[in-house]
Symmetry: C2
Subunit: 228 residues, 2 copies
């Protein structure tokens, strides 16, 4: 590899890892400004460039911006939030009380991601033994969009306090098509440096070392200096 290749690669790494670290799951920081059409297009295009099993590209993106519909979905989510709160032990309920779970109206733009298992016909290359790989493809698209939003100076927040049947009807998704996410997208005043759930004392981060294993779960990964 030439020096200039190494320089370009080092710059690319820095940009990517900065984006990965800066990306937040946004609820409270949406500024209320609209998302520009060009930025929206680039975010969707990044999602659409994700890998997919058998090149099925089994996702669709439904952009929801009608204020009355945003309000209707936010009301549904508020109900699901209340159900969750009611099931918590008192101490957890107290911690949860201060945590926002959505910025549906404030973001002004929802992107509902749907998954269509019928895309690709009967013989999907790579989905024979693990049917979920189709579903997984649509999730890969979401992470591309999340990093794209961060690069655009936008915030994205994944709302999961909803009944899947409600959201399916809401976007006109008939079985076997499944809605798998509601993503809030919008300009933000700033991104938090510490994730909300850490900041509010809900749950600490897990150290990377605990998540990495060699050969089998629990196997210790030897760092080989010669392999660096």
């Amino acid at each position: 590899m030439s020096h200039s290749d190494e320089g370009a690669r080092s710059a690319a790494r820095r940009v990517l890892y900065d984006l990965v670290a800066a990306r937040r799951d946004v609820r409270a920081e949406f500024s209320g400004e609209p998302v520009g059409a060009d930025a929206l297009h680039r975010v969707l295009a990044a999602g659409h460039a994700a890998p997919s099993v058998g090149n099925t590209m089994p996702w669709d993106f439904v952009v929801v911006r009608d204020p009355a519909r945003l309000r209707a979905f936010a009301e549904h989510v508020a109900g699901c939030r209340a159900d969750f709160a009611a099931a918590l032990p008192p101490e957890r309920a107290e911690t949860f009380r201060t945590i926002r779970v959505e910025g549906i109206r404030e973001s002004g733009t929802g992107i509902v991601v749907t998954y269509d298992p019928a895309r690709g016909g009967r013989h999907v290359l790579g989905r024979r033994t693990v049917d979920d790989t189709g579903l997984f493809s649509a999730v890969l698209a979401i992470q591309n969009m999340w990093l794209a939003a961060t690069a655009e100076g936008l915030g994205m927040g994944w709302v999961s306090f909803y009944e899947e049947e409600f959201l399916a009807r809401f976007v006109g998704a008939a079985p076997p098509v499944r809605p798998i996410a509601w993503l809030c997208l919008g300009p933000v005043t700033a991104l938090q440096e510490v994730p909300d759930l850490v900041r509010h004392g809900w749950r600490e981060r897990r150290p990377l070392a605990d998540a990495v294993h060699a050969e089998v779960l629990g196997g210790e990964l030897e760092q080989d200096p010669a392999g660096r």
Copy 2:
């Protein structure tokens, strides 16, 4: 926003979108060189920085490098490939014949991603109504790793021709922990510009416009020039 902010953002966008476009699902291009320990660490750290429902970080990464084990997994995959081929209509079988589905031994490094639904206890914030959101979190980590690998000048390939029970035993994952992916990671001679399945005539890409909808599936997205 100041001009310098806009300049930095524009550079970040360019780098990210170049990575998103350059990323390939690699099978045939692994060079056989080992992955450096620092690069491996950064790729895993990028995965570990993914968002997760309730901040559960429900993934684990099992790094497999023992040549005998790589060979054993490759043999299992060869069997699953043969089963898929046998079920295809003759014309599709002929197209499939030329397509590689794995670079397990050539990459020299496998990363098995597992998902632990028990992480986070009984009350996972955001997983009450849609249980799959836990599984989705682990998939988001994979796309972070995929882009990180691309930035590192490495190739990554997701192998899905395996029986989940086989892979669970292989890495010592006992229920409810599920292996969800085998990722080949290694230096590459180059990344293909056109995805393998397009290049080999298996399946064309779908236009972005077909995947984008307004308000409901099938609703046409109006491009608002004023909103740009």
